[in-house]
């Protein structure tokens, strides 16, 4: 194997060679630089391959031929190989990116670039402190030079500020080094590490402590810790994006590894300081990134935050043990690749505001690139960040460091917040600049290639980390999961027409169900049917869209893949990975709606917040155990069990939109596309219910400070049902009405679960099945009407029964089912509910639910009256029936509803027997057509027949008596002998329940919305306060740095 020294040697040689070339051979200098960088990358790649495959062992290179401490030695082990490869590749592609700038600046620029990359590699390789200092100074000088590559107006002042602070750092570092040398007698890191314990007398160790502090704080300053990083952010904002990529990916990585080597010397005493500085930087960096509007400054803050997080991870080396490099590596590589990619992406755009990035959506590839980088940064599956964060959280919870855990998750949530807000701007906002001027430079391949390589590297890393996780830690490699692969394959098929992809998706879902239905128990079978066959049925409605519909099918299949993996998961890791997949998939689906951007953002924030709570819950439950099966939730140790229950329950309730966590649902479901709303509302909410079922099945009743948690759940469910229905009554927008109604119905289902008795659970399952069928049907019907009439405001419609009869039938059957009126299946749910509450020992929550029941009538009638009955407006007179493909699923749903009403046993019988093993007493007996419980009996077939017979006889009698009824039109009404003025003035629809609002309107004050908006405003003001710290003056930054040193000194309490 060629010696790693050549990495440095080739770089220096190339730099000097460039010096010799004559000025006019400039075109030759550029290939030489690329060649040098390529060779360096190849070298580190070959070492990486050799070390990884075990064909080579870590090697030390003694530069002067003699062993340390009399010579400087470099080491090439696995971490060094990975990091040097990263640095060199970033350098190579940045050089490629900087082609025009470098050619303009001439060979001196290229030489400085080579020196910079060489210095960074040197920092990683060297084991000698002073050598480290030399390389650091080289990086400082190179940065000073390379910053000037960019044509930003303030690059000069940024560079100068950087140099000022670097001078102060170098002073401290030098003093630290020399006194450390003085104390230990060696400059070699490993030598120093052995010498430290040997310092006997207090004086020497005291001096060494001080020296080490100076050295350590100087290196930590290179990582741009929170209070003292104003100077770095100016570089990020002002420098050329390619250099910022190097600065963020390369310099950050090198400095991190240097700090890691230093920690070897310092030992455990210094780990807390590293963690402290790291976590403060992580949280503060993200908080300050929140109010940013300049894209590069935001990326600066984000990279500062990520490096802080990795520092904190390095600081946790004592509890992470050998996983440290897996976690730190995962986070570091995700950060480096994503940041480099994002900076390169920002180079393609002329506008610097976040909203200007909206130009990216001209082509699908940059959008896909941004999604990949955002997912990597916020640690979403299947990227390395996900595995790393999972292990980190588990180790932290295992050793009881909950405050740190909370801070990490809080920071991660804010980061996800501003990244997905930014993604929302890209997809939905209109770029403020004039449209014709082409602001996105796609034509230059040398700028687009690095971005593509970064994306490929991202996905490659995802696969590698998956393999690593499965080999080292026994986690399943997500990228090998069949459903996820199926979903990702749609990314490649996106050029196909929509109907082909739709057929493929439906076939995939049905085939998956056919292949796997045998291994589900009765409970999971219901959810499996709803997720797969139900999903296929809802996808039928997607045939109505023509064209290619780019981006719909990957997102939809991602959601379905997540849901299917959710049911099949039996370990906490698979469960959580599936949970995040379906969250991300549904987020992209909802984001497709025209005005859905703010709502999709609040959806993803609530869902990710909930997901992080679930992760924390699983982590605490696992108590450090490497593998944690869902079933073992039952044996969680006593003091933790209620907290685990609380965390998981709140996490799952964010998905079923219980009251307090519900504000995302109306916007998300209402603004989604016609065929997305049924998917999201009918199917996705059940994922939350499934989670709760798994939780309640495993953990049963829990006590926390003497309060029965399931009782609290009961009250929350009852309030959700009441307020959900109540808010639905006063909506003017049809889809929002249905969305609020979903909240109410989910409250009912949650209530059933919280009763914790046999019939309670059966009721929840009946509601799961019922709610899927009629909510998907109602959303499709309303979507079809909205598509035809062009509006969702109910008071603008009216009298559509003659023009859209099929939609009317669907909505009619739907509202009969939802309201629980006997012949249809809704009544079954109510009957089981009644028997359940009789068997339960709680009394008061039922009262709230009794009031919620009839309220459903109000908004259901309002829905059907204002749209289909009443007066037909002029402009809607020629409206056609909803498209065929939207009506067909509705008719299938109608048939399903009637079938489920007549033969409920088909779905419920097996589940009833299955539930016996958890709740033995209180089951139902299914004799013939009659279902009897301990209290009452119910014969669905008989009811249907009796009602049918009575209805037909009365109808026949009316037909006979009233044969010659004269069909009349809309104004033939007794309008006190006057002629009605216009249809708009005679259709009573606006503010339909005004008296009801006067009576109970006070219950629907938007308290929860106000609460959450104040929370977000607080975060933003905190961010703004923090930003005031950076007043742009270089001197104050230097002063900040010294103050930081003094503060940390006192905190460390030497």
């Amino acid at each position: 194997m060629t010696s790693p020294l050549y990495i440095i040697a080739v770089a220096l040689a190339a730099a000097f060679l460039l010096g010799l070339l004559r000025e006019q051979w400039r075109s030759l200098a550029y290939p030489v630089t690329l060649a040098a960088l390529a060779f360096m990358s190849w070298l580190s790649a070959s070492w990486l391959w050799a070390l990884a495959s075990g064909s080579a062992s870590p090697v030390d290179i003694y530069t002067a031929g003699t062993a340390p401490p009399f010579a400087i030695n470099l080491r090439m082990a696995l971490p060094e190989a990975v990091l040097t490869l990263l640095i060199n590749l970033t350098g190579l592609f940045s050089a490629l990116y900087l082609k025009s700038a470098l050619l303009a600046r001439g060979r001196r620029g290229m030489a400085v670039l080579l020196v910079a990359i060489m210095a960074l590699s040197g920092i990683v390789l060297t084991r000698d402190i002073f050598n480290l200092f030399v390389f650091l100074e080289l990086v400082v000088i190179a940065t000073g030079g390379l910053v000037l590559l960019s044509d930003h107006a303030h690059a000069l002042s940024a560079g100068f500020k950087y140099l000022v602070v670097s001078q102060v750092i170098s002073i401290l570092l030098l003093i630290g080094i020399i006194f450390a040398y003085h104390a230990t007698g060696t400059l070699n890191i490993d030598g120093m590490a052995e010498a430290v314990p040997g310092l006997q007398n207090a004086g020497a160790s005291q001096a060494f402590e001080l020296a080490f502090f100076l050295m350590f704080i100087a290196l930590v300053a290179e990582l741009k810790p929170f209070p003292a990083n104003g100077w770095a952010l100016d570089i990020y904002e002002a420098a050329h994006p390619a250099f910022s990529a190097i600065f963020s990916a390369g310099a950050g990585t090198a400095a991190l590894y240097a700090v890691d080597k230093l920690l070897l010397i310092g030992g455990p005493a210094w780990l807390d300081m590293a963690t402290g500085v790291g976590i403060v930087t992580f949280v503060a960096g993200n908080l300050l990134a929140l109010p940013q509007s300049n894209d590069r400054r935001l990326l600066g803050y984000s990279s500062v935050a990520q490096i802080g997080l990795i520092l904190a991870v390095l600081g946790q080396r004592d509890i992470l043990g050998e996983d440290t490099y897996f976690i730190a590596g995962g986070l570091l590589l995700s950060h480096a690749v994503a940041k480099a990619g994002l900076f390169w992406l920002s180079g393609l755009l002329a506008g610097r505001q976040l909203v200007d990035w909206a130009d990216l959506r001209e082509r699908p590839m940059p959008v896909f690139a941004f999604v990949t980088f955002a997912a990597m940064l916020s640690g979403l599956p299947p990227f390395p960040g996900f595995y790393a964060k999972w292990e980190l959280v588990h180790h932290l919870a295992g050793s009881g460091r909950l405050v740190l855990l909370a801070l990490v998750l809080f920071g991660a949530l804010i980061e996800a917040g501003y990244l997905f807000r930014w993604f929302g701007y890209i997809l939905k906002r209109e770029p403020p600049g004039e449209a014709d001027f082409c602001r996105v430079i796609f034509d230059k391949p040398h700028r687009v290639l690095p971005v593509m390589v970064a994306v490929a590297a991202g996905w490659a890393l995802a696969f590698v980390w998956g393999e690593l996780a499965s080999s080292l830690l026994g986690r399943s490699n997500l990228l090998l999961a069949l459903p996820l692969l199926f979903a990702l394959s749609f990314l490649l098929l996106d050029w196909l027409p929509a109907w082909v992809k739709n057929s493929l998706a439906i076939a995939g879902l049905v085939a998956f169900f056919a292949a796997t239905w045998t291994d589900y128990d009765a409970l999971r079978m219901i959810f499996a049917i709803i997720f797969t066959l139900g999903g296929a049925l809802t996808l039928l409605a997607s045939y109505h869209v023509h064209g290619r519909r780019v981006g719909f099918y990957p997102a939809a299949m991602l959601m379905f893949a997540g849901m299917v993996m959710l049911i099949r998961a039996d370990t906490s890791f698979d469960f959580f990975a599936a949970w995040e997949l379906l969250t991300v998939g549904s987020y992209f689906l909802i984001l497709r709606g025209k005005h859905s951007e703010p709502h999709a953002l609040s959806y993803i924030l609530f869902s990710l917040g909930g997901a992080f709570l679930i992760m924390a819950g699983f982590a605490i439950a696992a108590q450090g155990a490497p593998q944690f099966a869902l079933a073992s939730l039952a044996h969680v140790a006593a003091p933790f069990a209620p907290w685990v229950f609380l965390l998981l329950a709140i996490g799952f309730m964010t998905k079923t939109a219980a009251i307090g966590l519900h504000i995302w649902l109306p916007g998300a479901h209402a603004e989604a596309e016609t065929d997305v709303s049924p998917m999201v509302s009918g199917i996705l909410l059940k994922a939350g219910l499934y989670g709760l079922m798994v939780l309640l099945l495993a953990m049963g009743k829990q006590q926390l400070y003497g309060i029965e948690l399931t009782h609290v759940l009961l009250w929350v469910a009852a309030l959700t049902a009441l307020l959900g229905n109540l808010m639905a009554v006063f909506q003017e927008d049809a889809k929002r009405l249905l969305a609020y109604s979903s909240i109410g119905q989910m409250g009912y289902a949650l209530f059933g679960l919280a009763l914790m008795n046999h019939l309670g659970w059966l009721m929840a399952l009946v509601f799961v099945i019922n709610h899927y069928i009629y909510k998907a049907m109602l959303f499709l019907a309303v979507g079809g009407v909205a598509k035809r009439t062009g509006t969702r405001e109910m008071y603008r419609m009216g009298g559509l029964i003659r023009l859209m009869p099929l939609s009317f039938i669907a909505v009619l059957v739907g509202i009969i089912a939802v309201s629980g009126v006997p012949p249809l299946s809704g009544f079954g749910g109510r009957w089981v509910f009644y028997n359940a509450i009789l068997a339960s020992d709680y009394r008061l929550p039922m009262v709230v639910l009794f009031l919620a029941g009839p309220i459903a009538f109000l908004y259901l009638f309002r829905l059907i009256y204002t749209i289909f009955l009443g007066q037909l407006k002029d402009e809607l007179r020629r409206v056609k029936e909803a498209p065929f493909w939207i009506v067909l699923p509705q008719m299938i749903y109608v048939a399903l509803l009637i079938a489920f009403a007549v033969v409920p046993g088909l779905a419920l019988h097996r589940v009833d027997t299955y539930l016996n093993q958890f709740f033995p007493e209180g089951g139902l007996s299914w004799a013939g057509g009659e279902i009897t419980s301990n209290y009452g009996y119910w014969n669905p077939v008989a009811i249907m027949i009796i009602v049918g017979v009575i209805f037909c006889t009365v109808f026949a009698w009316l037909l006979f008596v009233n044969r010659r009824a004269q069909p009349v039109k809309q104004f033939n009404i007794v309008f006190s002998a006057e002629r009605p003025f216009r249809p708009e003035t005679t259709h009573f629809a606006w503010n339909f329940f005004a008296p009801y609002r006067k009576a109970l309107g006070f219950l629907t004050q938007p308290l929860v919305t106000i609460f959450w908006t104040t929370v977000t405003d607080l975060l933003h003001t905190a961010g703004d306060l923090g930003r005031r710290l950076y007043n742009g003056n270089g001197q104050t930054y230097a002063f900040h740095f010294l103050a930081f040193v003094v503060i940390v000194f006192f905190l460390v309490g030497l």
Binding site: L812, I815, Y834, V974, F993, P995, A999
Partner: protein, 301 residues
Amino acid sequence: MQFEWIKIPYALLTLFIVVNYGMLLGAFIQKIGARVGRRRGVPIWQNYADLVKNFGLRTSITHGVMFYLGPVFRLTGGIGLLLFVPTIYGSEMFSNLSFAGDLILALYFVFFGTLGMALGAGESGHPHAAIGISRGLSQVTAAELPLALAVFSVALQYQTLSITDIVSAQQGGVLHWTLFTNPLAVAAAMLSFLGSMMRPPFDVVLAPQEIPIGPPTEYHSSYLALMQTNRAIFPVAKIVVYMNLFFGGAASWPVFFLKVFLIYMVSVFVGVAFPRFRVEQSIRWFLVWAVPLGILSILLA
């Protein structure tokens, strides 16, 4: 309980008796109201005449399919409610079709007629119909709550939902009635009963002085006839439920007629004495007065 074909003629017999009783009871109570106002009042067979006249009307109009089906839903709701509840306790003949469902079926089937009627009136396109429905539905949500609470507390008390069992538990003397064993529940239920009988304190929906008779503004001739038959059956059917739950059910027809009449008179007495509530006032009244009674009855059950 099994279904035999003989149940159908028995059920029709019950229906016949109740329809006639309803007609006569309606006229009789109107006569009482008149006599209180020193008027002779309508002849006892007035309802029959009105019914035949409406069926006899030769022309009618239709605003659409749902308008046409509105009264059918309404009458089916009335008949269904009557037949799903056993009228005479102990007699196989008059246990009607109560094998199909228990108390909850009766409770929820009340909404079947209301929903159908609301849809039919909605299709008529008349704004008064829509305003009437919005008022009616708003009021019914608050009115139904005390009844649901009372029913729940009764079900808890007797630990069963089958009406025949509840009635059998109340046999053996007046003191066994739920009226005496669970007075709070009965009080709440009777207050809710006032709300559902469309009598003055709560008749803002159908009152001619308000908006001309609300939902059925556009109904006439045979539609109206169907609704009149329902107006004869529905109150009686609803009272049968109350009677079976709270007042010990009826072992024979004379007892049945007497008890139904007395319960009906409760709403008449209150109706004559009180002015009409607006919708939000009636909602507040129910939530302030009737619901606490229901809650108390549940807690004490």
